[in-house]
C-alpha cells in the first residue's frame, strides 16, 4: 500500500472515530436535556396540583392522568433517541465496512496492474534484449563455430519465450471477448497422453505421472481449451518448484468426470488461493522475484474452465505442492 493510501485510510478511521464520539455525546446530551424538560414540566404540574389541592399525596399526584402521559411520552422519546442512534451507528459501520472493502479492492487492483506492467515489461524486454545482443555480437565479432551455435540456440530459446508470451496475451484477450468453444466428442485419455508427451519434451527434467482409467473416457469438450488447461497447470507445477518437479495427472470417471493435476512445488498460501485466478495476479513483489511470468496462466485456465462448463478447485497437496481439481 502506498503512503498516500495509508494516509487516506488513517484519516477515514479518524473521521469514523470522531463521528461515533460525537454521536454518543449528542445522544447523551439529548437524553439529559429531555429528562430536564420532563422534570421541569412535572414540577410545574406539581405546583398547580398543590395550589388546587394542598393535601395531595405524592402517590396520588403521580397517578394524575397528565403526569402519567408525560412519563409515558418521555420513555417513548428516550427509546426513540436510543433506537435512532443505534440505527445510525449500525449504518455507519456497514458504510465504513463497504468503503473499506472497495478501497482495498481498488488498492489490490492498482497493485495488480502495476505488477502486470512490471512483469510484462520484464518478460517482453528481456528476450528482446538477449536476441538483440546476440545479433550484435554476431555482427561485431568473429566467433568459433561452437560459440556461434551456442548463441544461436540461446536466441532461439528466447524467441520461443517471446512467442509463448505473445500467445498467452492474445489468448487472454480472445477469452475475454471473442472465444466460442468448439465442442466435440473427444477421447480424453488420448488428449492427455498427447499433451503430456509434448510437455515432457519441452521439460525433460520433470517427471510427469499419468493415472488414467482403462476405458477411454469420451467427453464433449473443446480441444484447445483442455490442452491449455493441462499445459498451464503442469508448467506452473514445474516452474514454481524447488524440488525435482513431479506432476501427477489423475483422470477419474466416478461419480463425475474429474481431472486432478497435483505437483510437489512450493504450494500456494491460503490467502492467495482465491486470488490466483485473477488476471495478472502474481504472488509476492515483482521487484524481487524468483520466477518470471505474467500472471496470465491461471487466468487463462479459469476462463477456459468456465467456457467448457466445468469447475475448478485448488487445494494443498501433501506433503507439499498444490492440487487442482477440475470437474466436468
Amino acid at each position: 500500500m502506498t503512503k498516500r493510501s495509508k494516509r487516506i485510510k488513517f484519516l477515514s478511521y479518524g473521521l469514523f472515530f470522531y463521528l461515533i464520539l460525537a454521536l454518543t455525546w449528542w445522544t447523551l446530551l439529548l437524553i439529559v436535556k429531555n429528562n430536564d424538560a420532563l422534570n421541569a414540566k412535572i414540577e410545574l404540574i406539581k405546583i398547580i396540583a398543590i395550589a388546587n389541592n394542598p393535601e395531595i399525596s405524592e402517590a396520588q399526584f403521580l397517578k394524575q392522568a397528565n403526569v402519567v402521559k408525560l412519563n409515558h411520552d418521555y420513555t417513548r422519546q428516550r427509546n426513540m433517541i436510543i433506537g435512532e442512534a443505534t440505527v445510525f451507528i449500525v449504518l455507519l459501520f456497514v458504510g465504513i465496512f463497504q468503503i473499506n472493502k472497495s478501497f482495498n479492492r481498488e488498492v489490490d487492483a492498482a497493485n495488480q496492474q502495476r505488477n502486470f506492467l512490471l512483469s510484462i515489461t520484464h518478460e517482453l524486454k528481456s528476450p528482446l534484449a538477449s536476441i538483440k545482443l546476440i545479433l550484435q555480437t554476431f555482427l561485431k565479432r568473429e566467433l568459433p563455430k561452437e560459440k556461434k551455435d551456442d548463441l544461436l540456440k540461446s536466441a532461439l530459446t528466447e524467441s520461443n519465450r517471446l512467442e509463448n508470451l505473445v500467445n498467452d496475451l492474445l489468448l487472454s484477450a480472445k477469452l475475454e471477448k471473442a472465444f466460442i468453444p468448439h465442442f466435440e466428442e473427444i477421447p480424453i485419455n488420448m488428449l492427455i497422453e498427447h499433451s503430456v508427451f509434448t510437455l515432457g519434451n519441452s521439460h525433460p527434467l520433470a517427471k510427469i505421472n499419468l493415472n488414467l482409467p482403462e476405458d477411454d473416457l469420451v467427453l464433449s469438450t473443446d480441444k484447445e481449451g483442455l490442452y491449455a488447461i493441462i499445459k498451464n497447470l503442469v508448467e506452473n507445477g514445474i516452474k514454481y518448484n524447488i524440488n525435482i518437479p513431479e506432476i501427477n495427472i489423475v483422470l477419474t470417471d466416478e461419480p463425475k468426470p474429474q481431472l486432478i493435476i497435483s505437483d510437489n512445488g512450493v504450494g500456494i498460501p491460503d490467502g492467495d488461493k482465491t486470488k490466483i485466478f485473477n488476471k495478472f495476479y502474481r504472488i509476492g513483489n515483482e521487484d524481487t522475484r524468483k520466477t518470471k511470468g505474467t500472471g496470465l496462466g491461471l487466468y487463462i485456465v479459469k476462463e477456459f474452465v468456465a467456457a467448457l462448463g466445468a469447475s475448478i478447485e485448488v487445494e494443498d497437496n501433501s506433503p507439499t505442492g498444490t492440487k487442482f481439481i477440475i470437474e466436468f
Partner: protein, 226 residues
C-alpha cells in the same frame, strides 16, 4: 580490469560476459543479490553492472548497500525498467549510469570503458620526503627517523605509509589497502595490515597504545591523522 555482472537472465548474462571478456576484462557473474554482496565484500572490482529485478534482493538494494562502504567503484544499472522515475530512483541510490533493456552492445562497451577509465585515480605517490610530528621519512632511501629511533622500512611498509599519508584524514578501507599495496583482487582474510599498523605505531607514536597518527576505524579500515 575486473567487472562484477549481476544479471538473472541467463542469456543476457552469457552474452554480456562473452563480449566484455573479448574486450579483455575479467568478468565475475552471478544471478542473485546475495552472492553479489558476498563477491563485492571479498574481491576488488573496477566496475559493477547491476540488474534491478533480481530474486530476493533487488538491484537497488544492492547498490544502496555497496554505497554505504564504497562510493568510488562505478555502478551501471542494466534493467528493463526504463521510466523516468525508475531512472531517477536508480541514480539516487548512487549509480553512475543507467542503461535500459534492450540496449546496444556498443553503447554498453563505451559506457563501461569510460566509467572505468574515469575512476582509475591511482594515488600519485611521488613524494620522496615527509615529516609528521617528530618523525621524518625518506621514501627514496626507505630510511626513517622515528620518535623511538631509526628504522629502515620494507617496500610494503613504505607503500602502505605513502598510501595513508596521501589520503591524510580519510579512511582507507582494508580492501583498498589490500588491492593497492598487495595487488590482491580477491581479498585474503589476514591480519597482515593490522601488524603493519602496529609496527607503524611502534616506530612513530610517542605512546603506541594511544596512537595520535595511525588510527583504526572499526569495521572499515585505517586513517592517518595529522
Amino acid at each position: 580490469m575486473r567487472i562484477l555482472l549481476v544479471e538473472d537472465e541467463e542469456n543476457i548474462r552469457k552474452v554480456v560476459k562473452l563480449n566484455l571478456e573479448m574486450d579483455d576484462y575479467e568478468v565475475v557473474t552471478t544471478d542473485n543479490g546475495k552472492d553479489a554482496m558476498k563477491y563485492f565484500q571479498e574481491q576488488h572490482f573496477d566496475l559493477i553492472i547491476l540488474d534491478i529485478m533480481l530474486p530476493e534482493i533487488s538491484g537497488l538494494q544492492i547498490c544502496e548497500q555497496i554505497r554505504l562502504t564504497d562510493t568510488e567503484t562505478p555502478i551501471i544499472f542494466l534493467t528493463a525498467k526504463d521510466s523516468p522515475p525508475d531512472r531517477v530512483a536508480g541514480l539516487k541510490k548512487g549509480a553512475d549510469d543507467y542503461l535500459a533493456k534492450p540496449f546496444n552492445l556498443e553503447e554498453l562497451q563505451l559506457r563501461v570503458k569510460k566509467l572505468i577509465s574515469r575512476s582509475q585515480k591511482t594515488p600519485k605517490l611521488d613524494m620522496e620526503y615527509y615529516e609528521f610530528g617528530k618523525n621524518k621519512v625518506n621514501f627514496s632511501t626507505f630510511e626513517a627517523k622515528g620518535v623511538n629511533g631509526d628504522i629502515t622500512l620494507t617496500k610494503k611498509e613504505a607503500m602502505l605509509l605513502k598510501l595513508l599519508i596521501e589520503r591524510k584524514n580519510e579512511v582507507v578501507s582494508r580492501q583498498q589497502i589490500l588491492q593497492f599495496v598487495w595487488g590482491y583482487d580477491v581479498y585474503p582474510s589476514t591480519r597482515t595490515i593490522d601488524n603493519f599498523i602496529l609496527s607503524f605505531r611502534k616506530y612513530f607514536e610517542e605512546n603506541p597504545k594511544e596512537p595520535q597518527f595511525f588510527k583504526s576505524v572499526r569495521g572499515i579500515g585505517y586513517k592517518f591523522l595529522e
